[in-house]
């Protein structure tokens, strides 16, 4: 049962991996955060499920902009969902 409930999140993780090996290769770049945005998305999806995972990953992407400082930022440190 739990596996069925977690399927959407796994689907999301699969999509991130698909991105990594297609568009991610065609548009190379780094990430100013550790872990990188795509790894953060995978961690967030695994831990918080599809919907909250997407919100967290989206928020991280928005923070990964030219005006932020970057740095160490793990999913466990998030404060949106408690």
């Amino acid at each position: 049962m739990t596996i069925i409930l977690r399927l959407p999140a796994y689907l999301g993780v699969g999509l991130v991996y698909a991105y990594r090996y297609t568009l991610g290769v065609l548009f190379p770049g780094g990430c100013k955060y550790h872990p990188s945005c795509s790894q953060y998305a995978i961690d967030a999806l695994r831990r918080y499920g599809l919907v909250r995972g997407i919100v967290l990953a989206g928020w991280r992407l928005l923070r990964c902009n030219p005006w932020s400082k970057g740095g160490v930022d793990y999913v466990e440190q998030q404060r949106l969902f408690r």
Partner: protein, 274 residues
């Protein structure tokens, strides 16, 4: 069509309008192929301020080189910890050599919208318009495998992709970088079914990245920090266990004597490759 593509319709319209303005019927009056090149250049020009910001950051970083080298040396056996410490250091000193991810995302919709535009070229292009390019490509809306020039462009594409990956992936580790170098070649069988116009877009944007990378290297005289590498040598068990708990506060032990010659050799190899 995938519903996701509908979100991009406004952007598709904007791109169509710009292409129309650049194209044979528009104000600028370029051929369609050159319009695509011009559009790509416009997109990349809009992103130049970001590159300038990054160059400034890399220049500022030169002053901190010794400290960063020390961090890399201290955690050379622990990739995770080393990345963490480096990122912390960047943050504390307000420098960061890596590009942010968000601007990168702006390129995807442009690319996908261009793909959609080229899929239905007749919405935009008139039947009498010139669709050839540089005398060798007969029709940029055809698939890349329709004419030998498409294969030529694909070869140029792979070369330019490898070059741009080389410049953009300085912060990646070695395995990831190798993978990023192999994958573009593996994509070729898929790319032959893409319109030639799209390959022109890729080549242009990659060449821009390479040019930007060359300028960046010239403005930042010394090499950026070597990409974090995973050591092929596993750390001595006893050492790792002993220091595992207090690694948080205390620096890891300095590299032991036997490790030193190995490191020197690796460094030489890296130099030779560049």
């Amino acid at each position: 069509m995938i519903p996701l593509f509908h979100i991009l319709e406004p952007l598709e319209d904007i791109l169509s309008a710009i292409l129309d303005w650049l194209g044979p019927q528009g104000t600028v009056g370029l051929t369609w192929a050159w319009s695509i090149v011009a559009l790509t250049v416009i997109v990349r020009l809009l992103m130049v301020p970001l590159a300038v910001k990054q160059i400034h950051s890399m220049q500022a970083m030169q002053a901190h080189m010794p400290e960063m080298k020390a961090i890399q040396q201290r955690y050379k056996n622990d990739k995770q910890k080393r990345n963490e410490e480096l990122m912390k250091f960047y943050r504390d000193n307000n420098v960061n050599p890596a590009a942010p991810c968000l601007p990168l995302l702006f390129q995807f919709p442009v690319f996908i919208a261009l793909y959609l535009v080229l899929r239905h070229p007749d919405d935009l292009m008139h039947s009498g318009d010139q669709r050839s390019w540089l005398y060798i490509v007969p029709d940029i809306t055809e698939h890349a495998n329709a004419h030998w020039s498409g294969y030529l462009l694909l070869v140029i594409y792979v070369a330019s992709q490898l070059a741009s990956t080389y410049f953009m992936s300085t912060t990646m580790d070695k395995t990831q970088r190798t993978l990023m170098m192999i994958l573009p070649v593996a994509f070729v069988p898929v790319l032959v079914n893409f319109p030639v116009g799209l390959v022109i877009y890729w080549v242009t944007t990659n060449l821009w990245t390479v040019g930007q990378g060359v300028v960046t290297r010239r403005l930042v005289p010394r090499k950026p920090p070597p990409p974090p590498k995973r050591s092929s040598r596993t750390p001595p068990k006893s050492e790792a266990e002993r220091d595992g708990a207090k690694a948080e506060e205390e620096p890891a032990p300095q590299p032991s004597a036997p490790a030193a010659p190995k490191r020197v050799r690796r460094k030489k190899k890296r130099k030779a490759r560049r």
